[in-house]
Each structure stands twice: as structure tokens, then as C-alpha cells.
Amino acid sequence: MIILRPKVRFKVPIEAECISPDVFSDKSMDEIRKLEILYGNKRKPLGELFEIEEGQGDGETIKMEGDMSRVKHVGAQMSKGRIEIEGDIGMHLGREMSGGEILVRGNAGDWLGAEMKGGLITVHGRVGNLAGAGYRGSKVGMKGGTIIVNGDAGREVGELMRRGVIAVTGSLGEFTGALMTGGTIVCFGKLGGRAGAGMERGTILSFDRPSFLPTFKRSCVYRPTFVPLLLNSLRKYGLPIKREYLEGSYERYDGDIASLGRGEILVWVGS
């Protein structure tokens, strides 16, 4: 295990996609210290800004400790291994990752897991806007993998999502799952307004009754077998899944009929 701690309080943003098990795994401590990162617009060796030491544990785990709210792109495009973060972390964490695991005990910035393809991100804290979303101009956002947020999340979470699962225990901002074409977003807390705006396909599952866009049409109350299947598979992440959720009925809203209209918002109505 490699442990990183910031040496100073960062005044400008850091771009550090080299902090990734894929990059670290075949490198010596010395080589890791020499990896280049961007401090504002200056290229600097990682070792100049972070204290880096080797800790107990397997070679594919990276641990970061401290205030890294300005450190961006950590774990970008990673495909294996594990990153554990104790403290706040900046934007683009785990962007386009395809495998491996990221665990944050703290808050994470915007574009968490944006356009990710696989792997798992768990955050115990607040998550910014556009988690699991697509970057501007992209046709598709998250294509696979799982994002678990034990806390609140911002706006446009899961925008343009095609596959994968995002589960949030706290509240979600406006436009959750906007323009999504597939995948599943589960909201255990409060679902913000305009959820599913423009969605073509996909599922938003809510245990709180949200306000609906006029372009979502109530279809029925039923028991979609898919829901207990999904919730069972999410149990391993320690989410607050109650027995009543598994056995209960759900009210289904079809939409967004302004768009293709094959998406759904499922709202739990009790058992």
C-alpha cells in the first residue's frame, strides 16, 4: 500500500490522474515520487507536493489522507486496484474508470465517476454535481459500474447515463438522471425536482415521493420483480434497504414523453 499526504495547503487546483493503481503498480517509490502532476499550470513531481510512504497491505492499494479538495482526476481511467481516501477530494474522481474500487471517507467534487465504465466508487460524504454523468457534448455518460453515496449528491447526477447503478442515501439535486438512456438510479433520501428530464430509457427508483415533470405519466401500481432483484444485489453495500422495500408495491411513471418516453420513475408506495 502506498500512502499519500499533502505537504501543504493547495492554493490552486492540482491535476493528478497519475494517482492510480494502474500507474503506481509497476513503479518503485522513487519513480512514484517523480511522477508528474500539474500544480496550477506548473508541472511538478508528485513527491514535491505529497509525502509518500509505503504502508502495510497489498501493492495495488493507494491511500490518501488530508484535505485534497483541490486535487482532481484521481483514479481517472483506473482499471484495477483500490484507492482509499480519508478526507475531501476534488473533481473528476474515478472519471472513465473501468475497474477497481475507490472509497472516500469525506466529500467528493463534481464529475465523480463521470463516464465510468466499470468498478465501484463508494463515498461516505457529500458528492458534487454530475456524478456518473457525461461530459459536455458526450452522447453517453456512465456506461457501467456502481456509485454508492452515503450522503447527499448534487445536480444532474447520472445525466446521460446508459448503464450501471447509482445509489444515494441522502438527497439528490435537480435533474437527476436527465437525458439518461439506461441504467438505474436509486434514491433513498429526497429526490430533487425534474428527475428523469428528457430521459429516453432507464430507471429512477425513489423511496420518497418526488414532484414529477408534466411529461411523466402515471401508469400503475405494481410489483416490478426487478426492484427486489436490484435491492438484493445492493445489500452488500450497506444501504438502508428495508424489508418493506423488497415486498412493497411501486407506483410507476412513464416518461419522459417529451422524449422517447421509455424510461420510468418507480416510487415505493408501501407494502
Binding site: G144, V165, P224, T225, F226, L229, L230, N232, S233
Partner: protein, 298 residues
């Protein structure tokens, strides 16, 4: 060799390669899961005329199914990948999708795959939804009752058909009782089924017939009514014979099933002998020697 005083003939059951799929059917309660399961495994005693051989393998408690509802495992055996695939489509489509509240999951690891949900989805007429959970892909097909959840792909793997033993006894009553006990005991073994009605077959067959157009005919050697007329294998004092046919996913399951089946059968009074159907080693590559199977445990 004897078990509980019953003679075990020193012979072997001859079994052959098949290919199998294991489906887990869930429903809101066991009743409806069983309706689907028994329909899906109906008319599936012998590949010769039914296309596949199938049966209910086990009941599954809700806490052990993916959707937390009561479930039933069924096994379906075919002779070829294509034949099995074809039958799976028909049976999932006609017997499970049609049955209220059911869902259908693959419950087997195997090297071959067959698209089931992936094809049935077209029944959804464009309104079907695809979902991935833990790397598995499912289809949600809208139906009048709600929606039918079915897995995109099912796995198939090499399996064994034709494991068997014969129960020979004084009369039909005790032989049938022994067969029932045997079937009951086999139900406790994983990954096997007994595809015949109630798990028992009375019309055992032999290869060939006097009629050119028939490839199999009644097992004359074991028909008590024909004893004087043919070369018989029925000892004196035996007036009825029943067979238990066992299909399983692997050799161990089949031999385990045979063992517990034989042992249970032997506990019934009036049973004289246990034998097995073999074809001289020409039909299948799996030979389950009764003595070996029963000896293993001791």
C-alpha cells in the same frame, strides 16, 4: 452384495452425455412458482419423444433467491445444444412467461450460453426494458399482470442422462412404495432430477424392436408377464419391476442419487433385488457400477 438384505446385482447403470440447463423460477409464492415449474417440466420424460428431459430439482427459500421470493429450481436436459436451446425458448416462453408473477433466472455455470430473455424480449413489442444487475443482464417484458423478468442468457453445460436403477420386488405395491421412497430421497440430492412421472418409470425400454420403424421397445427381459417367453432377468418371486431414471449435472450427483435411492428402496419389505439398465457398455460412456456406488460409502 446385499443392502438391508436386498440383493444388489453386480451390474452397472449405463448413462450418456447430455447437455443441461438449470432455471430458477420465482413467484410471489411457492404455489405459482410450482405451477410454472411443473408446466415447464411437463411432457419431458424422454428426449426420444419429448425433445428434452426435465424435472423439478428443488424448492428454494426466499432468502436464497435473487429477488427474495420463493423459488423452484428446474433442470432441463437435451441431447444437443441446439435441441436444448430450442426447447428452453418454448418452455420459458410458453410455460413461465405465461404464468402469473413469475420471474426466471439462470442458475447454472456453464460453458455454453443461450439467449432466452434476449430473444423473448421481442414479445415486448419495443417496450421491453433491459437491466444489468451484478454483471447479469435481464429483460423486463411488459405483460398484462405487470412485467415478466427473465435473464438475457442462460448457461448450458455437459451433463449426464440415463443414470438408473431397477427395483425388483414381490408385488407392485411394495415396488411402488420402494420407488416412491427412492424418489423422495433423491429429491434431497442437488443437481439431479428424475424426469418420469412421479420420478418413476414402469415402461423401461431396450434398444431396438422387431419393427423396423421403432428404435426402442419395451424391456422384455424385465417384463414379468413375459418371463416364460423370453430370456428373462427376473428372478423367481419377483412379480413387478420399476425403474428410477436419474439425470444429473455430473457423475457424482448421479451416483449420490443412485445410492440414496437404492438405499431407501431397500428399506421396503418385499424388495428382492436391485439391478440397473445397461446396454453392454455400447450406449453411454458413463458406467455406474452398483457395487462401487454402494461400497463407496461403507
Amino acid at each position: 452384495m446385499q443392502v438391508n438384505g436386498v440383493e444388489i446385482e453386480d451390474t452397472f447403470a449405463e448413462a450418456f452425455d447430455m447437455i443441461a440447463a438449470k432455471l430458477l423460477i420465482t413467484a410471489r409464492d411457492e404455489k405459482w412458482a410450482l405451477h410454472a415449474a411443473s408446466t415447464a417440466t411437463g411432457f419431458a420424460t424422454s428426449v426420444i419423444a419429448c425433445g428434452v428431459e426435465a424435472g423439478i430439482e428443488s424448492l428454494v427459500e426466499p432468502d436464497r433467491t435473487p429477488d427474495g421470493r420463493p423459488g423452484v429450481n428446474i433442470l432441463i436436459f437435451g441431447m444437443s445444444e441446439k435441441g436444448l436451446s430450442d426447447q428452453l425458448m418454448r418452455r420459458v416462453g410458453q410455460c413461465i412467461m405465461t404464468c402469473p408473477t413469475t420471474a426466471c433466472f439462470n442458475n447454472l455455470d456453464g460453458e455454453k450460453t443461450v439467449k432466452i430473455g434476449g430473444k423473448l424480449r421481442f414479445f415486448g413489442d419495443g417496450f421491453q426494458l433491459s437491466k444489468r444487475v451484478d454483471g447479469r443482464r435481464f429483460w423486463r417484458i411488459p405483460v398484462m399482470e405487470g412485467e415478466f423478468l427473465v435473464e438475457e442468457e442462460f448457461r448450458m453445460r455437459k451433463a449426464i442422462g440415463g443414470g438408473n436403477f431397477l427395483i425388483l420386488g414381490e408385488n407392485v405395491d411394495c415396488v411402488l412404495r420402494a420407488a416412491e421412497r427412492a424418489v423422495e430421497a433423491i429429491r434431497g440430492v442437488e443437481n439431479v432430477i428424475t424426469p418420469f412421472p412421479g420420478g418413476v418409470v414402469r415402461s423401461g425400454s431396450k434398444v431396438g424392436s422387431k419393427y423396423k420403424f421403432l428404435s426402442a421397445s419395451t424391456n422384455t427381459e424385465y417384463c414379468p408377464t413375459l418371463r416364460p417367453l423370453v430370456k428373462t432377468r427376473i428372478p423367481e418371486g419377483v412379480n413387478s419391476v420399476l425403474e428410477i431414471v436419474i439425470n444429473g449435472l455430473d457423475e457424482k450427483s448421479v451416483s449420490d442419487a443412485m445410492r440414496v435411492g437404492i438405499e431407501s428402496a431397500c428399506s421396503v419389505e418385499g424388495i428382492k433385488m436391485i439391478s440397473a439398465g445397461n446396454y453392454g457398455g455400447k450406449l453411454g460412456k458413463y458406467l455406474f457400477h452398483l457395487h462401487k456406488i454402494l461400497g463407496e460409502k461403507r
